[in-house]
């Protein structure tokens, strides 16, 4: 995913009513791609920051201003914390739009979201991710179909 082109996106999407924004991968991981239906969504701004691709615009049918952040969080907890801080600032700056923050957060919110055979000294810190969710007043819907992703 070091470079994304129209050919790839159109084969993923299936028709021509799309546009996309992406952040290239570094080596084999870290790439992010957001594709949207141009009949449904009018994207005005796209932003690319470390580990996040943000698109902002209007939902055509609802007329609602929205922002959508596609996240691929790093494994390193300290760098992950930077992502939460940075993203939190942007969410705060665009509070008047409705927000959807999605992707691979590489973090879990509680022990219940993990199942592992290794029991031991490793204690995962849930607090930063929870703090990010709470301070930006985001909601995590219950997941249907599976417990883990």
């Amino acid at each position: 995913m070091e470079s994304i082109n129209d050919f790839l996106c159109s084969s993923l999407w299936g028709n021509q009513n799309y546009d996309f924004s992406y952040r290239p991968s570094v080596g084999a991981s870290g790439g992010i791609l957001t594709i949207w239906d141009t009949m449904e969504v009018d994207v005005i701004i796209t932003r690319s920051l470390a580990h996040v691709v943000i698109i902002q615009g209007k939902m055509v049918k609802k007329g609602a201003d929205f922002s959508l952040a596609n996240v691929y969080a790093p494994c390193d907890p300290l760098r992950r914390q930077d992502v939460w801080t940075h993203l939190g600032t942007i969410i705060g700056n665009f509070r008047e739009t409705c927000w959807c923050v999605c992707g691979d957060f590489n973090a879990i919110r509680s022990h219940a979201e993990r199942k592992s055979k290794v029991v031991g000294t490793f204690v995962e810190d849930y607090s930063h991710f929870n703090q990010f969710i709470d301070s930006n007043i985001l909601f995590d819907l219950p997941l249907c179909g599976k417990k883990f992703t």
């Binding site: 969410i91 739009t97 691979d104 590489n106 007043i137 909601f139 995590d140 819907l141 219950p142 992703t149």
Partner: protein, 170 residues
Amino acid sequence: MRRLDCFLLSEDWCSIWPNMMQHALNRDLSDHCPILLSMDEVNWGSRPRRRLKCWGDLPGYKQFVRDNLLSYHIEGWGGYVLKEKLKLIRGSLNTWHHNHTQNLEGRLRNVQDRISFLDAKGEEDDLLLEEIEELHSLSVDFRSLSRIVEQVTSNTQEGGELCSLENNLK
């Protein structure tokens, strides 16, 4: 295994699309499951299941439903388990319904023939005790079969999902 991927939504987003659902789909090549956030406003869920009142008259119906519901093992929160169980029982009930409503007219005719045979015999001769009992149970069968035929036919005319039954009745 961990739950690493999800959609986090602001309050405004939730009030614009109140009927959202987050589904984890089956994974293929990736080590992550794709997640679908559906916000289809016309998606009111599955069509309501139709239950024919006459099903209760058929022997074994209640046991069939009970056994089937107990045989499904679904994990998740209560509402989800109920929804999935109802979805599964729908399929089983369709099969059950087909098996129990095959050749209804033929079966009705057989019962009728047997009744008139016994009636005719009774005119000539005294019926045996077993034959009198048989006659009683035949009239019960006849009533319940006619009720099924009636309900199935009226259901079919309403254009319900049981339309293939029409072919069975012809």
